[in-house]
């Protein structure tokens, strides 16, 4: 996991890749807790979401979980690979575990409740 990512208490992360561009996914801790991941539903490119809005659904063998936007934004790319092969998320050698890439003009207020990865790890462990 990239140390500069910011995390929510609901286990999503957001990572700035360039100005106003971010990738969004779920944390390694969340993946481990979910166990075998068997289904992922991602939004369409072009759709827009507010902070804390549900943008995806992920299902393990046991249950379905909703995934929330850590910040507001517009979807510019989705990870088709994990949609087609959700089990890749459980594969430790697979690195492209991001869900969506977004463009966002979120201001500091939206980032205020996000945690540094190290603080997040402390929180969950």
């Amino acid at each position: 996991m990239n140390e500069s990512m910011l995390c929510t208490k609901t286990h999503e992360y957001v990572l700035e890749t360039s100005k106003n561009k971010y990738e969004v996914g779920i944390t390694d801790y969340a993946i481990e807790q979910l166990g075998d991941i068997v289904f992922i539903e991602l939004p369409e490119v072009g759709s827009e979401f507010a902070k804390n809005e549900v943008f995806a659904t992920i299902e393990s063998v046991k249950a379905a979980s909703e995934i929330y936007m850590p910040i507001s934004g517009k979807v510019v790319e989705i990870n088709e690979e994990i949609v087609n092969s959700p089990e890749l998320l459980n594969d430790e050698s697979y690195e492209n575990k991001w869900f969506i890439k977004i463009e966002s003009s979120a201001d500091q207020v939206e980032f205020a409740d996000l945690l540094d990865y190290s603080d997040y790890k402390e929180e969950v462990e």
Binding site: G35, D36, V38
Partner: protein, 365 residues
């Protein structure tokens, strides 16, 4: 306060993730549910199912008493034979599903669901007026280990128990110098045994079986895979697929109900009527055609009309598709091959009604 089985520390040492199930802290998975599932289908797995209840019923009237409680004909049960039963209420609804073993004349063993032991005992006590029987809850004294899979019986035989009981029979035996009961039953659709042993020996037996099972590819299996295995075999889970408002006929369990039983039993008039005329609903198997997983409680539609509800659903690790059990209205045009819709997150997803079980059972070798 959640209860722990006598194998709790073993599960922790094996790295299990523990969850609350029916008031018990139980292992849901050790490694991966899918891997554990495949181990049971391909080799052998060992399960701690000590949360399940053991009730002994004995006395002069044990037979007529049990015969009043279930739609099965207990008079047909011979020594050391088991029968799958439903404890029915006056309306034919299922209070619990059970396995009843005849241990000897006037003495029976009942294996009950952990979540239903209290209800079962209450119901039995309410029904025992006029019967000379004693009902003893032995659940706290016994551990239950299930050894399941195509190599399960080979493993047990290799340990000296060469003449295993036949399907749905039980016998006393000895493994590693421990006295126990071995029954040819399970909840996976695979061949295998369930071993009833006094609590003080369960840790020793668990370790010995895991060690001896290495050559057979044994793995410990959690409740997660237990659930996916039983779903593929279309075996009912109480609380999901069975409840007090559902009769054995509606649950697709007519095969287990005696059609010739003369004795009266709770719910007999309703069940006999439904055997002739059908129930208010019927349990069907579904295969998802569209991408999506049907889960307990999701609604089922046909021609935009709600016709039913999913009771169990998930992935089938063996088939590689998504399957479910659902109660639907008994409409003539809804049969095997019909396409219906499951509402998943406010969208219709096509599913086909298919025959059960989803994966062929291999337990009657």
């Amino acid at each position: 306060m959640t209860k722990q089985t006598f194998l709790h520390d073993k599960h922790i040492a094996l790295g299990a993730r523990m969850v609350d199930f029916a008031g018990w802290e139980m292992p849901v998975q050790y490694s991966s549910i899918i891997e554990e599932h495949k181990t049971v289908r391909e080799a052998v797995g060992i399960f701690d199912v000590s949360h399940m209840g053991e009730i002994i019923v004995y006395g002069e009237d044990a037979l007529p008493f049990l015969n009043k409680l279930v739609p099965q004909d207990i008079t047909k049960l011979v020594d050391l034979k088991a029968v799958y039963c439903q404890l029915t209420n006056k309306k034919g609804g299922i209070i619990d599903d059970l396995i009843i073993y005849k241990l000897e004349e006037n003495k029976y063993l009942i294996i009950a669901n952990a979540s239903r032991i209290d209800e079962d005992l209450n119901w039995m006590v309410r029904n025992k007026i006029g019967f000379d029987v004693t009902i003893v809850n032995e659940s706290h004294n016994y551990s239950l280990l299930a050894v399941q899979g195509p190599k399960a019986c080979d493993l047990i035989k290799s340990l000296g128990l060469t003449d295993l009981p036949e399907f749905f029979k039980i016998k006393r035996g000895e493994l590693f110098n421990i006295n126990l009961w071995v029954s040819r039953t399970g909840y996976t659709g695979e061949d295998g045994v369930e071993i009833l042993v006094r609590n003080e020996f369960s840790e020793y037996l668990w370790d010995k079986l895991l060690d001896a099972g290495k050559d057979f590819g044994i793995k410990p299996i959690g409740l997660g895979a237990r659930d996916t295995l039983r779903l593929e075999a279309a075996l009912h889970l109480y609380g999901n697929d069975l409840d007090e408002d559902t009769t054995p006929v509606e649950a697709g369990l007519s095969w287990s109900v005696s059609k010739t039983k003369t004795a009266d039993y709770n719910g007999k008039s309703v069940i006999e009527d439904q055997l002739k005329n059908g129930g208010r609903k019927k349990l069907v198997g579904l295969k998802m055609l569209d991408r999506g997983i049907a889960r307990h409680g999701y609604e089922v539609y046909y021609n935009n009309e709600k016709v039913g509800i999913i009771t169990s659903g998930g992935i089938s690790p063996i088939r590689g598709d998504n399957i479910a059990l659902a109660y639907i209205k008994p409409l003539d045009n809804l049969t095997v091959g019909s396409t219906i819709q499951v509402m998943i997150r406010d969208k219709f997803h096509n599913a086909e009604i298919v025959k059960k079980p989803f994966v062929a059972k291999r337990n009657k070798a």
